[in-house]
């Protein structure tokens, strides 16, 4: 087994026992990136020199006998909407193509302090707006299970990097499904924690009441290890939760006795693949066989959730993206007046989907429409939260699908924004309610594409989600899912 095939937990153990050095580990992932990334394009910026420097430093500290963080020397990939000091942070947008942050996001500070080498910045839909990573202003990322298909989005680059062994761990962000849906389409585990559980300081804002940083990993334990590092209170984020964090990696052994699981019924939702429903039902039976009490739960407002989300998120986006005016940072166009300069900068700097959302949001917030659109959507959000409160009176865990279909073809939905929005229908209400939610592999379609389950719990119950993810991991063979990258040169020799 090569180093890039190992889980973060195994790498951590091998590093601590000095079986391997961090430089060796990082070299293995960098070689893997060189081999795979030209075909799939998960990265916007690769940082091999920085990663090797940081690995060398950790090796030296270990040799000196310093006490290090368990993840010290284990590399990580970072979504390119998370600010990294002196390292280009583009949000996959022309408007930030040359933006160099003068500060680190809090999650980056803690990663650096723990000694995790950063392998690079991963591709996304521009400003995290999208469900396929096709809205990147630079290039789309491809799905490793079938390169003619999308990896999901917006954290498509992070999901692909982890799925193919280009990184053992990655950070993503999830506003309305942007970690869970790509994790589902790429066959990895993606956790969106409770809103406020991980600091948003330095995450480039899209929709502030919904944005949440989270983890992408191959196993639940790896996700738990990264959560242990990045979760917790941050005085720099006023929406950061002050609650103590548990030790996520300990006691992950699943105990399902008497666990009350609510199976989500989607009804006859448009565009829902029956193979996905079957996978969810299979997962419910497995839980039941192992002692869980499974009942049906209805979240009747799921359809309305999508409508409310596509008013609330664009409204917040139109306000947040007001800052891109070509004055303090980013792309700048010409104009005789300041207004002409602003308008041309934004018109030329933003891509079509970002413009659509700015337009919807500006409209929904404008005089005469505010009450009917934005205010109404915020009231519907309250009703959705009530739905969840009722569901959690009866159940500890909700089980559903992380995406209505397996990966779709590149270009299939780019001309029809509404169809693209529907890709997030399973993920959005969890986001509106602010509850933690996780995607974990739950089988394959007849065409060999991964199908993702979605697990949802009460606020702060990330550990329960990780335990349940661990359960499904133990049920599958092999536990580590890896795509056969037969389309790479050399065919089967690249199988991992």
């Amino acid at each position: 087994m090569r180093l890039y095939e190992q889980t973060a937990a195994d790498l951590s153990r091998m590093l601590q026992s000095r079986e391997v050095s961090s430089v060796e580990v990082v070299r293995s992932f960098l070689e893997r990136i060189n081999e795979v990334d030209p075909h799939l394009r998960a990265f916007i910026t690769q940082t091999p020199v920085m990663a090797l420097d940081s690995a060398g430093e950790i090796d030296a500290r270990r040799t000196r006998g310093e006490t290090l963080h368990p993840l010290a020397g284990v590399p990580v990939a970072v979504k390119d909407n998370i600010s990294t000091m002196d390292l280009r942070t583009t949000c996959a947008s022309r408007i930030l193509e040359n933006y160099i942050p003068p500060f680190d996001a809090t999650v980056i500070s803690v990663i650096k302090k723990a000694g995790m080498p950063i392998l690079g910045k991963t591709n996304l839909d521009e400003f995290a707006m999208g469900s396929s990573t096709e809205n990147s202003a630079f290039y789309p990322t491809r799905n490793p299970w079938d390169p003619e298909r999308v990896p999901g989005g917006s954290s498509g680059g992070s999901a692909v990097a982890v799925a193919t062994g280009m990184a053992p761990l990655a950070l993503g962000s999830d506003t309305g499904g942007s970690i869970r849906q790509p994790a589902s389409l790429c066959g990895v585990t993606g956790l969106r924690p409770t809103y406020g559980r991980i600091s948003r300081y330095g995450l480039v804002a899209f929709a502030s009441s919904l944005d949440q940083i989270g983890t992408v990993s191959t196993t639940a334990l790896d996700g738990a290890l990264l959560m242990n590092l990045v979760a917790g209170y941050d005085p720099l984020d006023s929406t950061s939760l002050p609650d103590q964090i548990p030790d996520y990696p300990t006691g992950l052994e699943p105990d399902l006795k008497k666990l009350r699981v609510g199976l989500i019924r989607y009804g006859r939702m448009e565009g829902f693949d029956p193979q996905v429903s079957e996978a969810v039902n299979r997962a419910a039976s497995l839980l039941e066989e192992h002692g869980a009490e499974v009942g049906e739960v209805s979240l009747p407002l799921t359809d309305y959730g999508l409508s409310a989300y596509y008013l609330i998120a664009p409204s917040e986006a139109s306000s947040n993206l007001g800052r891109y005016d070509g004055v303090r940072y980013g792309f700048c166009s010409d104009g005789d007046s300041i207004e002409a300069m602003f308008s041309r900068t934004r018109g030329e700097g933003f891509g079509p989907e970002v413009k659509r959302r700015i337009m919807i949001g500006t409209y929904a917030l404008s005089a005469g429409y505010y009450d009917a659109y934005y205010l109404k959507a915020m009231k519907v959000r309250t009703l959705i939260r009530c739905d969840y409160e009722q569901a959690f009176n009866k159940f500890d865990l909700l089980l559903g699908a992380a995406s209505p279909t397996p990966a779709f073809k590149l270009g299939e939905k780019t001309e029809d924004p509404l169809q693209m929005y529907l890709s997030d229908v399973c993920n959005i209400t969890d986001s509106l309610a602010g509850v933690p939610s996780l995607a974990v592999p739950g089988g394959f379609s007849s065409g060999g594409l991964p199908i993702g389950l979605q697990l949802t719990a009460r606020p702060m119950q990330e550990k329960l989600l990780l335990k349940a993810a661990r359960f499904f991991e133990e049920q599958r063979q092999p536990a580590l899912l890896r795509p056969k990258l037969e389309y790479l040169e050399g065919g089967g020799s690249n199988e991992i």
Binding site: P102, L311, I338, R346, T362
Partner: protein
């Protein structure tokens, strides 16, 4: 009832300070009408007496002591400004012509 966004595009684009090409405008008008029609489905729900949720955390407003802390040095704060001069950002003329009618 369909939402006709065609008439609104210019007005909303101006509010958003977004210059759109003619072809872009037409395409967007059609797409936005469709999106808003779906979004309007929330009107079917009765929300009488329901408080709006603008935020999901129950946290009170977070205040800190009003004390001066180190901040970014000027050159760092301006390092990304596309046009700058003598420690300032540069923009096109903001005020109208100085010649005013007496």
């Amino acid at each position: 009832m369909p939402v006709d966004f065609g008439k609104e595009v210019d007005y909303v684009a101006r509010l958003a300070r977004l210059s759109l090409e003619p072809g872009e405008k037409e395409r967007m008008a059609g797409q936005l009408s469709e999106i808003l029609e779906t979004a309007r489905r929330i009107q079917e729900l009765d929300t009488t007496g329901v408080e709006p949720t603008s935020h999901v955390t129950e946290l009170p407003a977070v205040l800190r002591e009003d004390r001066i802390k180190p901040s970014l040095p000027l050159n760092r704060a301006l390092q990304n400004a596309p046009r700058r001069e003598k420690g300032f950002v540069k923009v096109p003329r903001i005020t109208a012509s100085e010649q005013t009618e007496e």
